[in-house]
Amino acid sequence: MLAQLTSLPEDPALRLALYIAMALALLTLAVMAQVLVLAELATRREARRQAFIAAWRPHLAAWSMVPDTDSLPAAPHGRRERLWFLLLWSRMQRQLRGTARERLNELLGRLGMLGPVLGLLDSRAAHRRLVALSCLRYLGDAEQWPAVLPLLDSRNAAVSLAAAQALVAMDPAHAMQRIIPRVEERRDWALPRLEALCQQAGRQAVSEPLLAQLSASQGSIGRAVGLLAWAEPGQAAPWARRFLAELPADVQALDDEARDAALRSLGELRDPRDRELLMAYLDSESPALRLAALAALRRQAGADDVALFTPLLADPNWWVRQAAADALVALPGVDVATLTTLLETLADRYGQDALRRAMAEGGHE
């Protein structure tokens, strides 16, 4: 029996199975060794990184408060250390504002790190290019515009969006003029990321290129309309009015999203001249548009508008009913007695529920 187990079996199938078992054992041992080696290497690398950060962090913190050339250590050497330094510098920049940020920008120049940063832009590794773009964003130096602009068309969405952020930091108005015309074709630029860019650039920078893009669009409005909320309401209003007036409110069109954005934009403006246009959308078939119109009207409503919002308490859509109740409770000059009377006279049970909830939330119990 023992001899049988220690010698190779004669049956070829069993012999093959035994070879497989041996190969599996070797492979398992190799994977285990790989795990241990990789873990050890990662631990050592992490320890070196932590030591580097511990050495540099106090200098960066001190320099962000008072620049002191005498106590500054020599600039980091080697590719890895330079990368660690730039990552630390970017992380600190994220936490700082105003003059502290400017001082750190100055430090980068004094250490001669601008050259390595620009060098990273040519790196094949995307994460190195991203580190460089992050640094250039904090520097906000318009002189580096030509170096960054080509990366706006990078096929890597993360790189192109980081380039967009850097350009916005350098010159918001010009950057948005470059970015917005690309929104339609760059489907990999997710809308929330674009909204964050608009937020960074500011309304003034967004308005002109965005409205030019919307006005130029043929047929269906593209996805750029989703950014309308980030444009200056006063500048966006003429386009929004024209767009809403062209398509009657009761027509179910493909551009519901665009109309929703236009209604929200007019809501931001709070211009009483838009009241009639907004009211027309209270009868829209789309609950989203009724909701947007209601929200826009709420922003310019007065005590006399109880009659305007009350019928919406019986709207078939839950969200519209709740929004109508919230609007009624928030009307200036409307007191508990008025709301209680309204609650008692309401025939619609769902409307009553909505109003009761809004009163409780608004402290009108």
């Binding site: 199975a17 993360a158 997710a190 937020q199």
Partner: protein, 474 residues
């Protein structure tokens, strides 16, 4: 007579051997392929993570989220759980706790701890659930709401939560889940990156042996209990290559009920959680696949390898056995109910790859495994299978099991390195070997029991879990 003669002439033993060996090859080949796929997608993910930075980016335009916490007899831990949820790093979110007719003081604890007051919240009935007895809001936390409802099970509680939620995305969280402060911010990323996303889930890890304070994980560690250690290796296998491998093909069939983010409108469109299954988390995901594929709607279901949720693993055989039986039953219910996903020409990767894989190796796997053990034992006893053949087959089977577990540890080392001490890694290697002698077989038996419960259609109930309660102590 001819048929009987033909049957008698078949060499059953030879064909049985072919069947078991063929199944074994298919099973392990499938898992190895999945393992390779996971390695590729994990590498890609880690590179992207390095590109975007290790911290979850905060854009300021993240969509608001309703965090739904179904609770049944959670009086011991609910206060800490809710407090930790209220401290999540996220721009705008609400926490909706649904007390599903608890028999203990869960509601009383909540009322006292969070100064709840009754509140006339009108609830829509978009998805069905048992009667809601009361809605409460907190005087201390404006974004906390509690529903008290008649007992109807976890799925029923989640449905009530979906109806009460005010935001477009909802995150289903188990009351005993231990999160990281940026868990929500991480799991929302797929919704920001890809507008087609309808659901996203992340890796669930074992919290036993880790340092937890105030409902948040401070430091991961290895538990003393061998049973909990077995589960660490199992979870690494199940999540890091069991699910990650399917994600690039948009074929993830399971998002853990412990932590998952969903598009509320889409979930309502498919009818919410099913109350007639114990595997409501998997059933919902499979139904979402089917709904979108049948209607040719663009959608993505994402899986994140980030460890964003930690859970307390059972440390006694009884609780663990019941949990595994329930999971197996849930799997069988979900797959059998949506068999049409596999037969439909629009089934795509979820229907034509993931469904058959799960059916063949996860649903029917325990039965074949038990059949294999019986065949070997009987064959060996009767002298049909030679001792050498039996030994060699067992060596290959166990060797394969160990290799797959060790590969799970390799993926962990290549990615998040939650267990950084060499001693911990050596312990996990040992566990990867030891689990093949007894624990794996026990698991197979529990899963067979789950299949029997599915077949006998036993009544559904909340899975009772013995809690150590240590999370609340620090």
């Amino acid at each position: 007579m001819n048929v009987l003669a033909t049957l008698a002439a078949i060499d059953w033993i030879w064909w049985s051997q072919v069947f078991f060996i063929g199944y074994f090859l298919l099973l392990n080949g499938g898992y190895l392929a999945l393992n390779l796929l996971s390695m590729v997608s994990l590498r890609r993910y880690m590179r992207q993570r390095a590109e975007l930075g290790e911290d979850a980016p905060y854009l300021g335009v993240e969509p608001a989220v309703s965090v739904l916490v179904p609770a049944y007899n959670e009086a011991a831990t609910i206060r800490i759980s809710v407090l930790s949820l209220l401290q999540l790093q996220y721009p705008e979110f609400e926490v909706v706790v649904i007390n599903d007719g608890s028999k203990d003081e869960t509601l009383e604890v909540l009322i006292e701890a969070f100064e709840l007051e009754a509140y006339p919240e009108p609830l829509r009935r978009t998805v069905p659930h048992q009667e809601v007895l009361g809605v409460y809001r907190s005087r201390r936390y404006a974004n906390l709401k509690v529903l008290d409802k008649a007992n109807g099970g976890k799925a029923d509680a989640l449905n009530a939560g979906i109806n009460a939620a005010r935001h477009g995305l909802f995150c289903a969280v188990d009351a005993d889940s231990i999160l990281q402060r940026d868990s929500l911010l991480r799991v929302v990323q797929p919704f920001l990156e890809d507008e087609r996303t309808v659901a996203a889930g992340g890796t669930v890890r074992i919290a036993n042996g880790s340092r937890v304070r105030g409902g948040f994980l401070l430091e991961a560690g290895i538990p003393r209990s061998l049973l909990a250690r077995f589960q660490i290796v199992e979870y690494l296998r199940a999540f890091l290559f069991g699910r990650l491998g399917w994600s690039p093909m948009n074929a993830v069939l399971i998002i853990s009920g412990a932590f998952g983010l969903f598009d509320r409108e889409r979930v309502m469109a498919v009818g919410g959680y099913s109350t007639s299954t114990v595997g409501e988390d998997m059933e919902l995901v499979v139904r979402l696949h089917r709904y979108h594929r049948e209607r040719r709607l663009a959608y993505r279901i994402h899986y994140l390898p980030d460890p964003i949720c930690w859970t307390e693993a059972p440390e006694d055989l009884g609780t663990l056995g019941r949990q595994r039986s329930r999971w197996q039953r849930g799997l069988a219910e979900s797959l059998s109910r949506h068999a049409r996903l596999a037969t439909s020409p629009r089934g795509g990767a979820p229907g034509h790859l993931a469904w058959p894989f799960m059916t063949l190796f996860e649903w029917l796997g325990p039965l074949v495994e038990v059949g294999g053990y019986v065949f070997m034992i009987v064959g060996f006893s009767l002298g049909i299978i030679a001792p050498l053949a039996l030994t060699v087959f067992l060596l290959v089977a166990i060797g394969m099991g160990i290799l797959l577990s060790v590969n799970g540890l390799l993926l962990e080392t290549l990615s998040f390195r939650v267990y950084q001490r060499r001693r911990d890694m050596l312990r996990l290697f040992l566990v990867a070997i030891v689990e093949n002698f007894g624990y794996r077989q026990l698991n197979t038996l529990w899963r067979c029991r789950g299949l029997w419960q599915w077949f006998a259609r036993r009544k559904h109930q909340w899975g009772a879990m013995k809690r150590s309660g240590q999370w609340g102590s620090e």
